[in-house]
Structures are given as C-alpha cells and as structure tokens.
C-alpha cells in the first residue's frame, strides 16, 4: 500500500467504533477496578465526597459472604453439567443434520436453531408455564404416564437442573451451526479415501470427522464455558435466584448487589473475581489444547 494512503483515512474509518468501544468497554474496566476498592453506593453516586477508598475490604467481605459462596457453587454446578451437555447435544445434532441434503434436513436445521434466537423473556414466560406445577404441560404429561409430578422450580436442586434443561435447549442452536459449518468444510476426498480403504462408518466418525472438528470443538468449548460462567438470564427471569438462593449464579449475585441494593463497589469487586475465574478457565483450556493450529 502506497505511502499516500497512510494518512487520516484509516483513522476516520476506525474512529467511531473504536471510540465507542473505548468509552463503553475499555474505560469501564478501569473504572470497575477502581471502584472495587471503594464503598461506592447511591450516596456516592449523588455526591462523590461520600465515596471512600476502603482497600481490600470488599474482597475480604466477599470471601466471608455465604451468599457469594453459594453463587460460586451454583455456577460450578451449572458449568459442570451444562457445558458438556450443550457440546455433546449440539455435536450430535450437527452430525445428524449433516447426514443428508434433502429438504427435511434443511427444515430441521431451522427447527433446532429456533430456540437460540428466541427472546429470553419469551422463553421464561413459555417455560414458566410449561414448568407450572398445576397448569403446566410437563407435569400433565408425567401424570399421563403415572409418574410423580416434579417440583420443577420449587426445589433448590431440581430448579438448578430445570434451568440447565432450559439453557441447553436454548444453547444448542448456535453451537450446532458452528459444528455444521465445520463439518461442511471437511473435504469430501478424505471420506472417499477412507471408504476406499474399507473403513466403516464408526471408524470414519472417530478417526476422521471428530479429529477434524478439533478447532470447532475448541472454539465451542471456550465460548460455551465462558457463557456458562456468566450464567445470568435464566435464573434472573425464571427464579430470581430462588428457591432458598438455590439458583443464584455469580453473575446474578453481582447484578443484585449492584442494581438492586446499589452496592456498586461491592458488586464491582465480585465482578472482578468472576473475571479472574473466567480468565483462569480460558487459560487452562488453552494450555490443554494441543499446540497444533489449523489456521
């Protein structure tokens, strides 16, 4: 590229978006870090002289906050069950959808993708109805099968599982599309060569397809893991953390402290702990990943 063009133009192209990102993404992270060492609340918001620097106080309070412990344990519960479930389901469905090219497969691709584009509030409204102990469809179906009704959202542990079921239903779509895109990128010649060599379908699946999906699997695992560590909307709209704080997640804890109790400093400290956990989990993933890269 000629020197003539190394002038103001590139900056004019990137400036609007970069400025907005700077103001609403980069500066906020610095601000969050600073206020996590203060007692900023509604009083401080009205008058800055009410803000005091309190050092590590927020962090040490969090360490002894039972609700915060509970939110960490719940988040782990969500991650440990939810992440593998989403990955296995979306990979399985993508493999099946990749099996044929006829209309049926195209239509069902849409069907499986639908939940992921569905508004979370609409999801909450619909699933709240399905889970309703008296009028809900799920307990009605169970009663038809002469099974006990399930306290979908009324028991702390069952409620966590109910939220996971809902989140898996909603989370399959986008990951399935990524797997599908990756599957379509595998050259046909690999399969032809394997068939010539007399490999059976299962051998092809485990020796060609799944290894070649390594990058997609890695990408999906990272994004899913980060997403589930920030698990928020489902408990927020379905249970508001209840029953007995059984579904409160770290992200919901931060939201409640920040926006319902206006303890901005305390919430900011909580958000940094979440941030550190996310970074640690991501780095561990990268470490486990084999050093070979595909692009």
């Amino acid at each position: 590229m000629g020197n003539v063009y190394k002038n103001r133009h590139p900056y004019m192209f990137i400036a609007p978006a970069v400025l907005i990102l700077a103001v609403f993404s980069i500066i906020p992270i610095i601000v969050a870090f600073i206020i996590s060492f203060t007692d900023l609340d509604l009083k401080g918001l009205a008058d800055w002289s009410n803000i005091h620097f309190i050092g590590m106080q927020n962090y040490s309070d969090l360490i002894s906050d039972d609700l915060f412990h509970k939110s960490i344990l719940n988040t782990l519960f969500y991650v440990v069950i939810g992440v593998p479930l989403v990955i296995v389901c979306s990979l399985g469905i993508a493999l099946m959808l990749n099996y044929g090219q006829s209309m049926v497969f195209k239509v069902f691709r849409g069907v499986y993708y639908m939940p992921s584009i569905t508004n979370i509030i609409a999801v909450a409204v619909i699933w709240g109805y399905l889970y309703n102990p008296e009028y809900g469809l799920f307990n009605y179906i169970l009663s038809l099968l002469h099974l006990h009704e399930v306290p979908w959202l009324q028991d702390p542990t069952v409620a966590k599982l109910s939220l996971i079921l809902l989140a898996v239903w909603k989370g399959i779509g986008i990951n399935m599309i990524i797997f599908l895109a990756a599957l379509q990128g595998i050259p046909k010649s690999y399969y032809e060569a394997a068939e010539m060599d007399g490999a059976n379908r299962l051998q092809i699946l485990f020796n060609i397809t799944i290894p070649l999906l390594r990058y997609a699997t890695f990408f999906v695992t990272i994004t899913t893991l980060i997403g589930w560590l920030q698990f928020f909307e489902e408990p927020f709209v379905m249970t508001d953390g209840g029953p007995l704080d059984g579904t409160i997640s770290m992200a919901l804890f931060i939201y409640q402290k920040g926006f319902q109790y206006s303890k901005f400093g305390y919430a900011a400290a909580g958000s940094f702990i979440l941030f550190i956990i996310i970074i640690a989990a991501t780095l561990i993933q990268f470490k486990f990943r084999k050093s070979d890269t595909e692009f």
Binding site: K6, M12, I27, N119, L130, R201, A216
Partner: protein, 276 residues
C-alpha cells in the same frame, strides 16, 4: 455392495426419525406457546389441557395493544433495531479500516478491540451505568442505544471478510480518482453483501431481543422495549397465561419468520468467517 446400500438406507431412516423426534421435542415450547395464545383465558388453565384451542380467539393479541401499551414498546424496539444497524455500519467501517489500511498502531488497536470480547458484561455493566449517569443519559433512548453501537466480534468478522477483497480493486478505484468513502460505499459494501447479510440478521435478533440494558437504563414505561414490557406482563398478569403467550408469540414469531428466510446465509456466513 447391495447390503451396504441397504444398510445405508436403514441408517438414513433411523437418523431422519431421530431428527424428527428431537425436533418435535425441541419445538414443544413453541407449539404450546402458539396454541395457548389463541385460547380464551379460561381455557389455558383447563386440566387436562387442550392441544388445539377449542374456541380460538384473537382477543389476547388485541389486548396487548389495547390495554398493554405494546404499540409503544414495539416503536421503542424498532428504534433500537434501527440504530443497531447504524452501529453495524460503524463496525463494517472499522473492519474495513483494520483490513485494508496500513497505519501506525493498527495491530495494537486491533488487539485491544479483540480483548474487549473477553470482558464479562457484569464487569462493565456498573461502570457503564455510572458513565452514562455522569453524561446525564440514564433514562434516555441515547443511553440505551450508545453502548451497543460498537461490538468487537462484529468488527472482527468484518475484518476477516474484508481482508479477502483484492487490494488491486481498491487501488484501481483510487487511480480512477475515487475518494475513500466513495470506494467504501460504492465498491466495498456491494462486495461485502454476504457478511452484511449474516451480521444484519444477528444484529436484528440482538436488538429485537434487547432486554437487560433497557431494563437498567429506562425508568419510564415510555422507553420500555418489548422484552421489558413482556417481563412486566409476566409480573402483573402472572396467571393469565393466554395473554403472556400472545406477548411471547408476538416477540418470537417475527424473528422465526426472518430467520427462516435467511438461515442459509447464517450457516454460509459462519463457514466463510473461518470458524471451522
């Protein structure tokens, strides 16, 4: 060979059946939503439930607009959708800037942009609220719209696509005396149509569904989006499931229609953007 093809067709039948079975299971919430939204209030609480409405009615949908201000929520949501498309254009410009210009600090700025993707929303939520509060933009449409205008992931996807456009093409246009912005709007945008299609759909879905940020920033009901309005409905009319289902259907069905027209671009777009 004959048994092989026979096995294959059995296998295909099984896969198809499994897909249909799973698909029906996945669609139950949607089927339930649509069917309940046409039921009168008394019928949704009926046990055993009816699969098809016995006395189909449009009353619930009319109610949303007559009694529930859904018209206002719809207008606000469409305003947000409109501005998110302005944001999309800004992201495209930035993506083009990073892909096709050589300038001081390019790599560094780009990495900083990418780094913003890793920051969880919960970390920035509080400071962004404080910043908007200092700017006097809480409880305004501008406060709802501004933070969402730029998105690192979108810039990243645009950049990936723009790097594949031949530089010669741009050079040729420059030799013909075209200005940089003329080149961008008349040459680049038409070439980048596929990536605009994908991101356009994703942007529409995101803006249409926007919930948490409007909830935080807007205090006046006149600024509520459809999602916020629907969550209000869920609180106020907790037992009128028919009305709630109509509200949900009103939010979900447009997205599904738009998506079914464009779904092939989404898959192609992901294949194209190198996420394989």
């Amino acid at each position: 060979m004959a048994s092989n093809t026979k096995n294959r067709s059995i296998e295909k039948t099984i896969v198809t059946l499994l897909l249909i079975l799973g698909g029906v299971a996945v669609s139950i919430p949607f089927i339930w939503m649509i069917s309940s939204s046409f039921k009168p209030e008394s019928e949704v609480l009926q046990v055993p439930p009816t699969l098809m409405p016995e006395h189909p009615t449009l009353e619930n949908y009319l109610n949303l607009f007559r009694d529930m201000n859904f018209g206002v929520y719809l207008r606000n949501t469409l305003v947000i959708v409109f501005f998110s498309f302005v944001g999309l254009l800004l992201n495209a410009m930035a993506g083009y800037g990073f892909a096709k210009f050589d300038f001081k600090g390019r790599e560094k700025i780009f990495y900083i942009v990418l780094a913003t993707m890793m920051i969880p929303a919960q970390v920035t939520m509080i400071p962004v609220y404080l910043i908007l509060n200092e700017m006097g933009l809480t409880n305004t449409m501008a406060g709802i719209i501004l933070p969402g205008l730029a998105a690192a992931f979108s810039i990243f996807l645009f950049r990936q696509f723009m790097t594949t456009i031949p530089t010669d093409l741009i050079e040729a246009a420059r030799l013909d005396g075209a200005g940089e912005f003329y080149i961008f709007f008349k040459l680049i945008i038409p070439i980048a149509k596929p990536i605009f299609a994908v991101q356009g759909i994703l942007t529409f879905i995101g803006a249409w569904n926007s919930f948490l940020w409007p909830l935080i920033i807007a205090n006046d009901e006149s600024l509520y989006t459809l999602s916020v309005g629907l969550s209000l409905l869920q609180g106020q009319y907790a037992n009128n499931f028919a009305l709630q289902m109509a509200g949900a259907a009103f939010m979900v069905v447009p997205i599904i229609i738009i998506f079914s027209f464009f779904q092939k671009y989404i898959v192609e777009g992901f294949t194209m953007s190198g996420l394989k």
